[in-house]
Symmetry: C2
Subunit: 174 residues, 2 copies
């Protein structure tokens, strides 16, 4: 047995001995002041779930060279017709400063057009273009396929239940 093998073996032994059998918080925190268990935290659970779901969609969107938010915007625009920026912000849950940048890039790529509202000079009206409709027609089938697979694995009724609970949570303070 060579010196190299001995070194490796020692390392293995060390790691085995050092493996923690239980969470070690160094006895530092007093129980009364401990924050809630991270694993049962609603914000983190929502984040995890969202990341898991988007993990299915993001690679597909990347193949079509659109970001998640760009996709949301053009999709809502196709669904609703002409909208101003504020309405889009509400529907897509994108804050105004982000939306300003997304609109700029979508306009540069020719997917939407901007125009000033004749009746209210503060408002910017958004419209989808032919190129925008084209990319929607390209992405939608892939999107539907992924969503359908998700429905089948998780169960359509369970997804509906989940959607209802999430909606209640989102509208609790309104």
């Amino acid at each position: 047995m060579s010196a190299g093998h001995v070194a490796r073996f020692k390392k293995l032994i060390h790691r085995t001995l050092m493996t923690k059998q239980s969470p070690d918080n160094n006895g530092i925190m007093q129980d009364a002041l401990l924050p809630r268990d991270t694993r049962r935290s609603l914000p983190i659970a929502l984040l995890r779930a969202r990341e898991a779901v988007m993990g299915h969609f993001r690679p597909m969107l990347a193949l079509h060279d659109v970001t998640e938010q760009q996709w949301r915007v053009i999709r809502i625009l196709a669904e609703a017709g002409t909208l101003d920026a504020s309405e889009m912000s509400e529907r897509a849950f994108i804050l105004a400063p982000s939306l300003t940048r997304i609109i700029r890039s979508l306009e540069e790529r020719g997917f939407i057009t901007k125009s000033k509202d004749a009746e209210d000079g503060r408002r910017i009206l958004l419209q989808i273009t032919a190129a925008g409709l084209k990319i929607i027609n390209e992405v939608s089938p892939d999107s539907r396929m992924i969503y359908t697979a998700l429905e089948q694995r998780f169960g359509r009724e369970r997804i509906d239940t989940l959607l209802d609970m999430l909606d209640e949570l989102a509208t609790l303070n309104k």
Copy 2:
């Protein structure tokens, strides 16, 4: 009636006439290719719910001058004891590049310390400092209070049900 009043009245009339009674997609999209209804989209619903929940916590965290992610990191560090960056990344659901930056700022602010793992030179070990524990003790009570209020309004069992469903969704493909 002055000219100004007439102008205002005309504008009101115009707006009333232009008010859409139903979604107007300009008859552009063929139904078969329409994307799913945005309002029943799981990714958006998860985003809305998360924003609604964080809307309760964020102002409080801002008062303590910590971001949501900084809070997650120091809280998990207090809960678990020494962790390396990879473990932290998994537990806090923060991608490695973001974590690098967050660790840097938390170290600059004196809440954590970094050290190289003696047994594996690639790994960076994180430890919470006295200042880190101090801020946890300052923030935790506020955090608990907000969470408790949320539990009372939404119902503890319903939150548990929701957490279970979110966990299933997050672990579907594992």
